[in-house]
């Protein structure tokens, strides 16, 4: 069905146009115009996504809010948009986080303000495009296009080693994507000249072809997630990125890879997914266990949270690739999706917390802090909540996804669940040990003594995230209700062999 109002187009282009508008304000003399304009754009961007939630029919797995227009007719490439219960939540999450990121950079970014804010708005629109695309080339274009603003955000507003980090980020992710493009062209030819993702789902494919395609997809998506061992760009990118860049990177951009797995790999290549599930599970468990220990010994808070992100994303890929008798486990899939949303809140919040301290002390090193609770009690309380959410405490969003994936894993294999559940211990260890060294104790030095507690703007940003984390922890049902039909359809679809 064709939508009456093009909500998805609005979700994509309102932030992009707002970003262009913000950029048009010019240099920093007009920063006082750029900021409110960017906030308005972000709020407007959020507002146009709300109908996607209110108007969403949870009873069907069909694509909704569909838009279709020819784009490159020679190759049958179309401007084809639509969302199901899996993708719609990420558009909402993305638009929500964008508002927070604009607020978070408010008085902190003082150079090239308009470009900075514009980059985030444009990036937000482009990422909505990824989640809304039903045409593979359109997906690819959005998927690659949002590398550019992030590359600039890291490269221009980043830390001292920003050029290395930005280049590493760009090359790492680009290399993976090229194989993805080749795979898409193969599928295009095979499908008789169509780039429609839904057509790919129905395409019969031999096992050999499926495995090759799976590896090509894997190259693109595993880097984005990132999965071990192609994760090393992430700590560098996070460390060098400005606070807002880290928040968006962790909250949304990592989800693009996971989303790719669930939109492309599983439904297009069900047999290869079953055949290679052991491989995917192993890498996921390595991410949970290995990276958990690596996170423990980090001296840099941002690096620690970056590693923690990798471990948490391990739960996502774990949830996606567990099969019982050739059938996906619904609770594990939904758990993985919930984990993606929750990680969006929690990792963004933790990076913003580090940002709040960094803005004051200009250090990310744990050793430079100690006793922050003495001077920043409100901030300490909020960060406690996020730390606990990161450690997966029930009542916070962090628990829900981990719990669901572990529940699914036990039904698959006791030992997989066993390794996955070690996150209960390691996750608490690295998060709370960091918290202890930074927040507790006597005031460690002059910088900490001079700290001012979080201001109203910071409290607003963190408070909104805290509300989201608690709401999702106490009552996650609304989130999963949206997904049910689509996940059920996915499970049914993947259960049918394409050979």
């Amino acid at each position: 069905m064709q939508a009456e109002i093009y909500w998805l187009s609005l979700a994509i282009w309102v932030p992009v146009l707002a970003g262009l508008g913000v950029m048009a304000t010019g240099d920093d003399r007009n920063a006082h115009i750029a900021r409110p304009l960017a906030l308005t754009g972000a709020l407007l961007g959020l507002a146009v996504t709300l109908p996607l939630y209110t108007g969403f029919d949870v009873g069907t797995a069909e694509m909704q809010f569909v838009e279709f227009a020819p784009w490159v007719e020679r190759f049958n490439i179309n401007y084809h948009l639509g969302v199901d219960g899996i993708s719609v939540v990420f558009i909402l999450l993305n638009s929500f986080v964008t508002v927070l990121v604009v607020l978070a950079g408010w008085e902190v970014i003082r150079t090239r303000v308009s470009q900075y804010l514009a980059a985030f708005l444009i990036m937000s629109g482009l990422m909505n495009g990824v989640f809304a695309s039903l045409d593979a080339i359109l997906f690819y274009v959005f998927f690659e296009a949002n590398l550019i603003p992030m590359y600039l955000v890291i490269g221009v507003w980043g830390g001292p080693n920003r050029v290395y980090a930005a280049l590493k980020f760009f090359l790492y992710t680009l290399l993976g994507s090229l194989l993805f493009l080749v795979a898409l062209i193969y599928l295009y030819n095979h499908a008789g000249g169509s780039f429609a993702i839904v057509d790919f789902w129905r395409l019969p494919l031999s096992m050999a072809a499926q495995v090759m395609l799976f590896l090509a997809f894997f190259a693109a998506f595993s880097v984005k997630v990132p999965m071990w061992p192609v994760h090393t760009w992430l700590p560098d990118a996070h460390v060098e990125a400005p606070t807002g860049g880290s928040a968006v990177l962790a909250a949304i951009m990592l989800k693009l890879g996971a989303y790719g797995f669930i939109r492309f790999s599983l439904p297009i290549l069900p047999d290869a997914s079953v055949a290679l599930s052991g491989f995917m599970i192993t890498l996921s468990l390595v991410a949970v266990a290995y990276i958990g220990l690596v996170a423990l010994v980090q001296a840099d808070m941002k690096k620690l949270i970056a590693y923690s992100s990798i471990a948490h994303m391990g739960f996502v890929t774990l949830g996606f690739f567990m099969f019982n008798d050739g059938r996906l486990i619904p609770i594990a899939i939904e758990g993985a999706l919930v984990q993606m949303i929750s990680h969006g809140f929690v990792s963004a919040a933790l990076f913003l917390c580090v940002g709040v301290m960094y803005d004051r002390v200009h250090s990310r090193m744990i050793a430079d802090y100690g006793g922050v609770a003495n001077t920043m009690p409100k901030f300490a309380a909020l960060m406690m909540l996020f730390a606990m959410a990161n450690a997966g405490l029930p009542g916070t969003s962090g628990f829900v996804g981990e719990f669901m994936v572990i529940m699914g894993a036990v039904s698959h294999s006791f030992w997989i669940a066993f390794v996955a559940a070690t996150t209960l211990i390691t996750g608490a260890a690295y998060t709370l040990w960091m918290y202890k060294r930074v927040i507790f104790g006597e005031i460690a030095n002059r910088h900490v003594a001079e700290l001012a507690d979080a201001n109203r703007r910071e409290l607003l940003v963190l408070g909104l995230l805290a509300a989201a984390v608690l709401a999702m922890g106490v009552y996650p049902k609304p989130f999963t209700d949206v997904m049910h039909s689509s996940v059920e359809a996915l499970v049914k679809h993947v259960a049918v062999s394409k050979l």
Binding site: T232, L293, V294, M404, S411, K477
Partner: protein, 675 residues
């Protein structure tokens, strides 16, 4: 929602409301209103709990769903209550002790700058604990389970400036997480094999699963229910501080004393005991799991009691005593005497709260002195505290007619009667533990309240290094210690009463059918039932006790304590030196802390560093990522040499290239070429 459910909902929500108000608006409403609002919340919860207890005694258990938390994979995960007699008893105990501790806190924390925060935490704790005991499913149990762990973490680290406090709270959280790790696997197995997390559904289906097996190790078929029960019990070992996960509880004494009484004696640490009793329909089906429980409980009860003998910190003596008593409860569970465990849980909650709060009263009077070597002779200065602590010690040591006697004696008798592998071992340690229990209890009493006055009467204010109070508001200029204010002594007295009398309800609670269907004991395990047949009332039980070994062992413990600490105070030092190695082992707490710090904490850091430096930095980044960049650079450097700009170089390259290509071509198609 029925009226009963609404009332039940009020029980956890009233303290939660208090916690939110005091926590978020504590600064605005001030100290007095913070304690008023939280105490009101807990008082409402206590009153409602009593009303519910009354209803439940009338026969009706309350069960219902509050809301559906999540639906996934065809399973409904719900938040709901199951209030039968087991739950109702816990609710009353929890809210009563909590209420007493709230009042006591007004006095104990009077000068603390974190006053409002403290009230918010203990009210939040009360909420969490109630959610735990009132749950009708495993998910909510786990929610409460972790929430009490969180509040315990926050409260142990309440004085967050003290390194020892933040070390202790991290340790407590992580050790508990090790238990939770087992627990969540147990919950996962329940869901995987029963398809539901509701108690009622799972318990009803459990007898049908007795033959089910699970292959955890290849080739070994283990009974499913044994695996589930042991996994769940690992959770209980964390929360109820059973060997070898007991290590966090002594360190938790870094928290303010009121929470040591509330959380680390009366309520939270008994969550594991409660959980196993709640799961009795599952545990009854696994002899292996119950034998395991029995052994763990026995080891904990005896060996932790021994450590109490060498402690000088008054709170740590009580902490090790708590460990020992938790061991007794665990043993009772292992002997299928769930009701005895619950009965001891209740009596212990009262007398251990008295001991902790009494210790706290002393600590306040001596300006935060916790070392018993600097106490002595306090009974003259603090008569009410002395009387209540004496009652607590008598109950703790198990002297009739005090509460501890009835519950402890029943456990020992049940162990004696039990016919299960490990019961003999447990019985022997339980009986031996009676002597040790009396000895350490009266060591504490005599050390602190009798003998020479060793405290420094001119001691000024607070040594900031000893404790965490920021403000020195006591304003004491030395002088003799004096009795604490009424907010401290009244709760002490109110808790001392049930420490005396709670045991007298044994006839109805333990040997009657009080727990009804809440606790299931298989017909072949009803050893506690045989005791009930021999029970003829409170008086005959007491007079009979005079002829049994445990009573005389307790008397011997008391006499030894008197001899060592009143008659011959020089002897302990001599014994200490004579038994050098034994003393050192006990003082090192069997080396668990050292081992854990070295092996687990150090090991994890070493492995983490190794993986990071060796894996991420050296191999992945060093060789693969930057290595491939370097390789590209290297190739470029070589290839660059060909781009000289001289035409003869290019001509030469072309010639060589042509030659090479032709050779390859000729070689590849050598068979196709005409000969």
């Amino acid at each position: 929602m029925s009226g009963a459910m609404k009332l039940a909902l009020l029980v956890p929500l009233a303290p939660l409301a208090g916690a939110i108000v005091a926590g978020l608006f504590g600064r605005v409403i001030g100290r007095t209103w913070s304690h008023r609002v939280t105490i009101a919340g807990v008082a409402v919860a206590f009153a409602a709990s009593c009303a519910i207890f009354n209803q439940v005694l009338g026969g009706a258990s309350i069960e219902g769903t509050v809301y559906t938390w999540l639906v996934s994979g065809g399973v409904n995960f719900e938040i709901g209550f199951l209030i039968d007699r087991l739950t109702a008893l816990m609710m009353v105990v929890v809210t009563f002790v909590s209420l007493m501790v709230h009042v006591y806190t007004i006095g104990y924390m009077a000068d603390d700058p974190g006053y409002q925060r403290f009230f918010a935490y203990i009210a939040l704790f009360t909420f969490s604990m109630l959610m735990l005991v009132m749950a009708n499913n495993f998910l909510q149990l786990f929610f409460g389970w972790e929430a009490v762990g969180l509040v315990s973490y926050l409260l142990i680290g309440f004085w967050y400036k003290r390194p020892s406090a933040t070390y202790a709270n991290l340790k407590a959280f992580l050790v508990n997480r090790v238990g939770d790790f087992g627990f969540i696997l147990g919950v996962g197995l329940v869901l995987a094999f029963f398809g539901s997390l509701d108690y009622a559904t799972v318990f009803a289906a459990a007898p049908g699963k007795t033959g089910a097996t699970i292959e955890i190790l290849p080739g070994a078929q283990w009974a499913l229910l044994s695996v589930i029960c042991i996994c769940l019990f690992i959770g209980a070992m964390g929360k109820s501080a059973q060997f070898p996960l007991h290590v966090w509880l002594p360190d938790s004494m870094e928290g303010p004393t009121p929470i040591s009484a509330l959380i680390h004696a009366a309520t939270m640490v008994t969550a594991g005991i409660f959980m196993v009793a709640r799961m009795s329909p599952l545990f009854e089906l696994s002899d292996a799991a119950l034998s395991f429980v029995l052994a763990i409980g026995a080891i904990t009860s005896f060996f932790m009691a021994l450590i109490a003998l060498v402690q000088y910190d008054i709170k740590r003596v009580v902490a090790y005593s708590t460990l020992s008593h938790l061991g007794y409860m665990t043993m009772a569970l292992g002997a299928s005497a769930y009701s005895a465990a619950m009965f001891h849980l209740m009596t212990h909650a009262f007398f251990k709260a008295v001991l902790f709060l009494g210790a706290g009263s002393v600590i306040v009077a001596l300006h935060h002195e916790q070392d018993m070597r600097r106490m002595g002779g306090l009974r003259r200065y603090m008569p009410i505290t002395y009387a209540t602590v004496l009652i607590g010690a008598l109950a703790n040591a198990g002297f009739p007619p005090f509460a501890g006697f009835f519950s402890k004696d029943s456990i020992i008798e049940a162990l004696h009667a039990a016919q299960r592998p490990g019961a003999g071992f447990a019985y022997a340690l339980a009986v031996a533990g009676v002597f040790v229990g009396a000895l350490y209890s009266f060591r504490l009493v005599f050390f602190a309240f009798h003998g020479k006055e060793r405290f420094d009467a001119t001691h000024h204010g607070h040594g900031g290094h000893v404790h965490g109070h920021d403000g020195d508001g006591h304003g004491h200029g030395g002088g003799a210690p004096h009795e604490s204010p009424w907010v401290i002594t009244v709760p002490l007295a109110l808790l001392a009463l049930p420490s005396i009398a709670a045991g007298w309800t044994i006839g109805s609670v333990l040997y009657g059918s009080f727990f009804g269907g809440a606790i299931v004991v298989a017909p072949e395990h009803t050893w506690i039932g045989t005791l009930a047949r021999d029970f003829h009332g409170v008086w005959p039980m007491m007079t009979h006790a005079l002829t049994t070994a445990p009573f005389w062992l307790a008397m011997a413990g008391l006499a030894t304590a008197w001899y060592l600490y009143i008659a011959r105070p020089d002897l302990p030092g001599v014994i200490r030196n004579r038994l050098g190695i034994v003393t050192r082992i006990l003082e090192r707490k069997y080396g668990f802390d050292d081992f854990n710090d070295w092996f687990f904490a150090g090991g994890a850091r070493a492995v983490g560093t190794g993986l990071w430096k060796g894996g991420d930095v050296a191999v992945i980044d060093g060789v693969l990522v930057n290595g491939s960049a370097r390789l590209v650079g290297l190739i470029a450097r070589i290839v660059r040499r060909f781009q000289t700009g001289f035409i003869y170089n290019y001509a030469f390259t072309m010639f060589i290239g042509l030659l090479a290509l032709l050779s390859v071509w000729l070689w590849l198609w050598r068979d196709a070429l005409p000969r």
